[in-house]
């Protein structure tokens, strides 16, 4: 099976769209000033109170609540200025075909204001917040503004990719994989052979599955985000999912954090709810670890006690709409509380090193023992 999507024109189109959005944002503000109106722009409110679960699209979405940034409001003025600075910088990056990291953006724009000790930005938290606001306000993906995400995570499997003129086979990289870069909008898929994408929480588990040749035996692509999947990896998974129509199967720890990682892959995150459509893969399925695995595979001896923070986190999650309405999830989380334990992916090594590859994953995936 092979897919090809090399389209320079398409890339140019995206670039133009992004530039139009940014210029449009600036033009609207200047137009207001020219008409002697106070300039302002709206931002969707990105707080939990404005987040809901879209039952149709099966993703987290932002509600209609917005707040505004008004230049003439004393409390807003600094953020307004910062927004203009970041917008104009992004315009330059796109025009010069450069992608920039979050902290690089901060340093690139930081300078002191005349006659004061005040800087345009005091730290990268400030610039990051304004960037989030801007992204939400313009409805343009950060990557399309040429701000790249943290590079962390890798892919391994029978897929040949092309980026920046290079073409490489991700199953021909020894024991390592391809380090997924922060910017993947321009990745093209040359060909591939896989039935699904296995998204793996733990990088040591990734290493085990590479060693055990799982990608061949189960015919899949292995992707890890080394813990919580960073947005770059999530975006890359989404791109693969869209282009190849491959289902995603999550393989995470049986604990509140594993569940949240899964929920973010599937429905999107609270923080980036305004971009769920560009990140979330609603038909993601959950293969493990489940609380039932502990009994089925006799793992009682290698569970870990829940700490108070874990319990608190479970209770928090049980309060989220998109958890609350899913009886299978609720059952797992409540069982977790009842048993007072959590179970890690690597606990499967207690059976034998190749247990996960030879028995656990084949059995559960072939028999579709999923939690949806």
């Amino acid at each position: 099976m092979a897919a090809k999507n090399k389209d320079k024109k398409f890339d140019e189109k995206i670039k133009k769209e992004s530039l139009d959005s940014i210029s449009g944002f600036g033009k609207k503000l200047v137009a207001a000033v020219e008409n002697k109106n106070p300039p302002s722009f709206e931002i969707p409110l990105r707080s939990k109170t404005n987040i809901s679960f879209d039952e149709k699209k099966k993703i987290l979405v932002l509600g209609d609540k917005t707040s505004s940034r008004r230049f003439l409001n004393v409390a807003h003025a600094r953020k307004f200025m910062q927004s203009a600075l970041i917008a104009s910088a992004c315009k330059e990056y796109i025009e010069h075909d450069r992608t920039v990291g979050k902290r690089e953006l901060y340093y690139n724009l930081k300078h002191s204001l005349p006659n004061s000790k005040e800087n345009t930005f005091e730290d990268d938290i400030e610039s990051g917040t304004v960037l989030n606001d801007l992204e939400a306000s313009m409805g343009v993906l950060r990557e399309r503004l040429h701000i790249e995400a943290k590079a962390r995570g890798s892919i391994y499997g029978d897929i040949t990719l092309s980026q920046a003129g290079d073409t490489f086979d991700c199953s021909k990289l020894g024991r390592g994989g391809w380090a997924i870069p922060g910017y993947t909008e321009d990745v093209d898929i040359i060909n591939y052979k896989a039935d699904f994408i296995l998204a793996i929480e733990n990088d040591a588990m990734m290493s085990r599955l590479i060693q055990e040749k799982v990608y061949k035996n189960l015919n899949c692509l292995l992707i890890t985000g080394e813990g919580m999947f960073p947005r770059g990896v999530r975006r890359f998974i989404k791109l693969l999912n869209e282009k190849l129509k491959l289902p995603v199967i999550a393989f995470v720890d049986g604990d509140p954090y594993g569940f949240y990682i899964y929920s973010v892959l599937k429905y999107g995150s609270i923080e980036l709810a305004h971009l769920s459509e560009r990140y979330a893969v609603p038909n993601t399925r959950y293969v493990g670890m489940t609380m039932d695995d502990i009994e089925t595979y006799e793992l009682q001896n290698v569970t870990e006690q829940l700490k108070e923070v874990d319990k608190k986190r479970i209770k928090e999650e049980l309060g989220y709409m998109w958890f609350k309405n899913n009886p299978a999830w609720v059952r797992q989380l409540e069982k977790m509380l009842d048993m007072g334990v959590r179970i890690e992916q690597q606990a499967l090594a207690n059976k034998s090193l190749d247990f996960v590859a030879k028995k656990y994953l084949p059995e559960k995936i072939n028999e579709e023992k999923f939690l949806d």
Binding site: I22, S23, F25, G26, K27, L29, V30, V33, E34, K36, P38, P39, L45, R46, S47, K48, T49, N50, S67, R70, F71, L72, N73, V74, A75, H76, A77, R78, F80, M81, A84, L85, A87, S88, K91, E92, K102, L113, P114, N115, S116, E118, T120, G128, K150, G227, M228, P230, R231, Y257, Y260, V264, S269, I270, E271, L272, R313, E316
Partner: protein, 550 residues
Amino acid sequence: MPEQISGEKLFEEFKTVQLSEFFRKNRQYLGYVGKIKSLTTVIHELLSNSLDACEEAKISPSIKITISELGTEHYKVRVEDNGPGIPEQHLEKVFGQLLTGTKFHRNIQLRGQQGLGVSGCVLFSQMTTGKSTYIKSGTGKGKIVEARVEIDIKTNSPNLIDKKVENSIMRGTVVEAEFKGVQYTKGIRGPFEYIRWTAAANPHAEIMFKDPEGSEMLFERVIDKVPKVPKEVKPHPSGLEAHDILDLALKSKSRAISSFLSSDLARVSSDKVSEIQALVDFDLAKSPKRLEWPEAEQIVKSFKKIKFMAPPTDGLIPIGKDQIEKALNNLLSPDFIEVISRKPTTYKGGIPFIVEIAIAYGGNSGRAAASKEINERKVEIMRFANRSPLLFDAGGCALTKAVNSIDWRRYKLKDMENSPVSLFINLISTHVPYTSAGKQAVAGEEEILNEIRMALMRASRSLQLFLSGRRKASEIAERKKMYERYIPETAKALAKLTGKKEDEIEEMLKALVLERFGDDKPDDDEEEEELEEESAAYDEIPEDVSEEDE
């Protein structure tokens, strides 16, 4: 079993001791404990006595205090006043007999009350140095008496030595005594601080202080008016207990309980007497001498059910709002001051009291930190009872408790502990409920606590307004500068974004800002709050998630 001893034998040594002997063995009851505190207690007793005397005599007090160092832990204290003087025949007892005085039996507000003050000093001097105390007094009527006085401890009786009488119209009293085992300090619990606080609460007095190093400090008179003379007042019914009623009834000259009640108690009119009669089951016409305990209890019960006018304030002489303000302005030069004087009320026993408090902020307010760095000031609580400073036992004092019970954050005073604030609290009462004879802490009577709290809360609200007003003013200036910084940056960025001319955008933005704010229009508070709410909402996102999501 050993041989038992009979009661008769045990009582062979049975005797009654004198107060003087009791206090000699228990000098801590009089406040003479610790080297520093003992010396401060001496100054307190003598200074209070002079002030009381001057006020009773309607004289503007001029007092001179000298402390000289005679050796290690050995000091001489001399206090001279321009008061009314002490008549020759009373000199002995005033200085030489404990629990003797003019005030104990009167329901009147004075600093000293129990006849333990000056005589206590004489006793303490005698105990530590074996010396008698030098006194000199004139009433301005042509004679002055000079003598040394000591106390015969076994009999609690005075002993005058070297008495000389001269002709002179000098008026006033001089007391000079030596003390050992005491220590002078300029610190917070020492005589200097005591005198400074006294000056704060007594703006009508002029006090000159010469310290052991020879430095002279003058606390000037800020108010020329002598405070009103405190009048003896009748006890108020609210809160009187049965034993008080019986005590008063026995002393009464009235022939019927009804007239006793209306003439010997305050605010009991004949209407009120009828109300009382309706509530008790015996005839108020009988003689007060024949009042019995259960009847007294009935009267007390009836008091609880009847509304009386607030107690008369004649016996209570507060310092007064203006006077406190003048005194503290003179002493602290604060940026802000608010003085609250509460209405008179009573606590248990029908004892009337008034609470006066002041909050001073900025200037020299607050306690300077040990490090002496500028603006490093901490909150200072200046406690007074009848204008007398309370320097010790702050922890056990109701005045401190009242302060600590205030939630300052409600008044946006976030770090009260480290603010340049002086809290002035003066409790005025005919009978201050001290926790011990050392007279350094007020007992926790609920009514008193409440009054102080109310006053503090009101003054705190004013301080809060002052501070937010001050913030507003600096905000307006800040705002102008802020837009001067932001406009060029914003204009440049917008120009880059749109290709329009930078300087044109800049001019237009300037015009908009000028139009909106003029020079000093206030901010739009509502929007600020909206923003705050919004950021608060962000905080709800669990940290671990939002971090990972960057």
